[in-house]
Symmetry: C2
Subunit: 349 residues, 2 copies
C-alpha cells in the first residue's frame, strides 16, 4: 500500500482529508525534464525501456500529484497484435497498414501481454519500489484503438471506422472482440505486476450516438470491465465528448467515470449516479491563461463536487504540450488547500 | 411564397402533410455535377459568381429536398472584414494572417455586407426566380468564425482560440462583437434579398463548457438572433457537440434548434422545449453503409420525433464528400413516404 493512498480512497468513495489530484498526460512534453530526455530518445524508446519509463513516470510527482500514471501509450498492444506503427514527427501515430479488409482483422493476434508487452509490466514492477503514491496502469478502449487501426491515425470524422461498423457489423464485432480480449488480459497483467488502479481510455468514443454505442461498443467494454473490476482495484472509465453516453458508460462499468470539461461535474455525477466516483473535469486550455484564472476554474469544479466523497480532481482531457508547469503546480496546490478547508459531504449520495 | 412551403411551416410548428427534409452541404462534392464544375473553377469562384452559385444551389433539388440552401461559405465575410483566406487543396481553409495580436482585432472592419458581399445577395435574388422550395440563407456564428481567424484554419483542440478568450477577455469580446454585428447585418441583407429562412452555423461551439459558452459566446449570438428573429422568417440555430449547451442555445435564440447525431432527438427536443422546432439528426456516416441501413437509422429519427409538429429532417452535420447520391435520394424518399403515413402529433407540446 502506498504511503499516500488518498487517491485510492477517493476512488472507493471513502472519506478523504482533501480531494486528490492527478492529470492525464502529467508525464510529458510540458515538462523540461521530459523534453530533455526526448532530445536523444523517441517516444517508443522511452516506453520500451523500463528504466526510462520509470524516470519519466516519476518526473511530474515533484508537482504534488496524488497518483502516478505509468508512462506508456495506448497503442502499444497493437504492435504485438500484428499492426505496426510509428509516431511521425508532429503528426501523431501512423499505422503502417491501416485495416481495410476482413483478412487483416482475421490476422490480428490475440496476444498474451507477457509476450509482446513484458516491458510494460517490468516498468510497473520497478516503479512499485520507488513510489509513495498509487500507480495507475492503463489501456486504450476497443473503439478508440479500432479507430486508429482503421483510420491509420487521428481522424476528424471517423468515417472509415463508422463505415466498417455500419457496413460490416460482423467484422467489426470480431475486431472489437479481439481488442477487448487483449485489453482485458493487458489490464490484468498490469494489476498482477502491481498497478494500484487502472484507467480505460475511450478517448474518441464520443463520436458515437448512444444507440450506436450501446449496440456496437458497450458489450466489448463490459467484457473488459466486468472482469477487471473483480480484482478489487479501482477502475476508471474515461472518454471525451461523452455527454450523451454517461448512463451507458456506467452500465459498461467502472468504479470511477471520467467527465470531460463539457459536462458540468454536478450534472455528470448525478447522471453517472452518486454510487460511483467521478474524475475530472477542468478544461486543459485554462492552464494557458495564468494561475489566477486556472484557480477560478478549478474552484468551479470543486464547488460542483460539493465535497462529496468519490471525486478525483483531474483535467477533462490530457494536459497539452505547451502548458506552463507553474500553472499546473498552482492548480495542484489550490485543489489540495481548498478542498482541505471544505466541509466534507456524505460518503454515499 | 414558394410552391412547396412545407419546410417553412414545419419550422413554425404548423401542421404539415409530411416531414420536410434537406441536408447540410446538400450542394457539394458528393454530386457528380458539382465535381464537374469544380474541375475548372475554385470553390471561391463558384461562391462569387452568382450564376454559378445559382447553378450549384439548384443541383441537389432533383433529389427531392424541401428546401434549397444558398451555395456559399461561412468564411466569406472575413475577406471584406480584412482577413483574407484561401481554400488550400485538401487542407480546408487557410487564413493568411491568423489573429495573434489585439491590433489585428482592432483593424477588422465592421462592414456593410452590400459592399463586400453583394455577390451573395445577387445570387439570392437570381435564385428566387428559379425555386419552387424555400431558400435558406446562412452565416457562421461568431465563435466558429473566431476560431478560424485565430487558429488559421481547422483545429483539433482550439487552444489558441480559447487561450485568447481566457487570457484576454476584453479583446475576445471586441472580436466577437465585431463578428456578431457583421453576421447580424449579413443575415438581414440575405433576408432583404429574399431568403425565406436563415441558419446560423456554430459548428465548433461544442468545444466549450456551458459556463464558458454562457459568459463568452451567448451574448454575441443573442445580439444576432434576437434582432434577426424580428423579421418573421424562421431562424435555425445549429451546432455540433452541443449536448450540454442546448438550453443555453435556446436562450440565445432560434425558431428551430439543430441537434447533432449524438443527442437523441427526443431528449434534445425535450431540453430545447417543445415550443421550438428541432432539426436533425441522422449521423452523416450512415449514408455510406447502403440504403437499407440508412433507412433504418432515418426511421429512428422519425420515431423519436413522434410526428410532432416542428421537426425538420436533416443530418446531424454536413453531408460528407464521398457520400453515395443514391443513398441520399433513398433517405429523402423514405422520410417523405414514412412521415406521410404516420399519425400527426399535436402542434404544440
Amino acid at each position: 500500500m502506498p504511503k499516500n493512498d488518498t487517491f485510492l480512497r477517493a476512488c472507493r468513495r471513502e472519506a478523504v482529508p482533501y480531494t486528490p489530484v492527478w492529470m492525464m498526460r502529467q508525464a510529458g512534453r510540458y515538462m523540461a525534464e521530459y523534453r530533455k530526455l526526448r532530445e536523444t530518445r523517441t517516444l517508443l524508446e522511452l516506453c520500451k525501456t523500463p528504466e526510462l519509463a520509470l524516470e519519466v513516470t516519476l518526473q511530474p510527482l515533484r508537482l504534488g500529484f496524488d497518483a502516478a500514471i505509468l508512462f506508456a501509450d495506448i497503442l502499444l498492444p497493437l504492435e504485438p497484435m500484428g499492426a505496426s506503427f510509428e509516431f511521425a514527427k508532429g503528426e501523431g501515430p501512423v499505422i503502417h497498414e491501416p485495416i481495410s479488409r476482413v483478412e487483416q482483422i482475421d490476422a490480428l493476434r490475440v496476444i498474451d501481454p507477457q509476450e509482446g508487452l513484458g516491458y510494460v509490466m517490468q516498468a510497473i514492477r520497478l516503479l512499485k519500489g520507488e513510489l509513495s503514491v498509487p500507480l495507475i496502469g492503463f489501456a486504450g478502449a476497443p473503439f478508440t484503438l479500432a479507430s486508429y487501426l482503421v483510420e491509420g491515425g487521428k481522424s476528424a470524422h471517423f468515417v472509415k471506422t463508422k463505415r466498417l461498423m455500419y457496413e460490416q457489423p460482423a467484422a467489426w464485432s470480431v475486431l472489437m472482440g479481439k481488442l477487448a480480449e487483449v485489453v482485458r488480459r493487458y489490464l490484468h497483467a498490469q494489476i498482477d505486476a502491481g498497478a494500484d488502479a487502472v484507467q480505460l481510455f475511450d478517448s474518441w468514443v464520443g463520436q458515437l450516438s448512444p444507440a450506436d454505442y450501446e449496440e456496437h461498443v458497450l458489450p466489448h467494454v463490459a467484457h473488459i470491465l466486468s472482469d477487471v473490476e473483480t480484482r478489487g482495484v479501482p477502475v476508471i472509465h474515461f472518454g471525451t465528448g461523452t455527454a450523451t453516453l454517461l448512463e451507458l458508460q456506467r452500465r459498461a462499468g467502472g468504479t470511477v467515470i471520467g467527465l470531460d470539461w463539457r459536462t458540468p461535474l454536478a450534472d455528470g455525477w448525478r447522471r453517472v449516479g452518486h454510487d460511483r466516483g467521478v474524475q475530472g473535469n477542468l478544461d486543459p486550455t485554462v492552464l494557458f491563461a495564468g494561475a489566477d484564472l486556472a484557480r477560478r476554474h478549478a474552484k468551479r469544479v470543486l464547488d460542483a463536487a460539493e465535497g462529496r466523497a468519490g471525486h478525483v480532481f483531474n483535467l477533462g482531457h490530457g494536459i497539452l504540450p505547451e502548458t506552463p508547469v507553474d500553472t499546473v503546480k498552482a492548480v495542484v496546490d489550490f485543489v489540495h488547500e481548498t478542498s482541505e478547508r471544505r466541509p466534507r459531504g456524505p460518503s454515499v449520495g
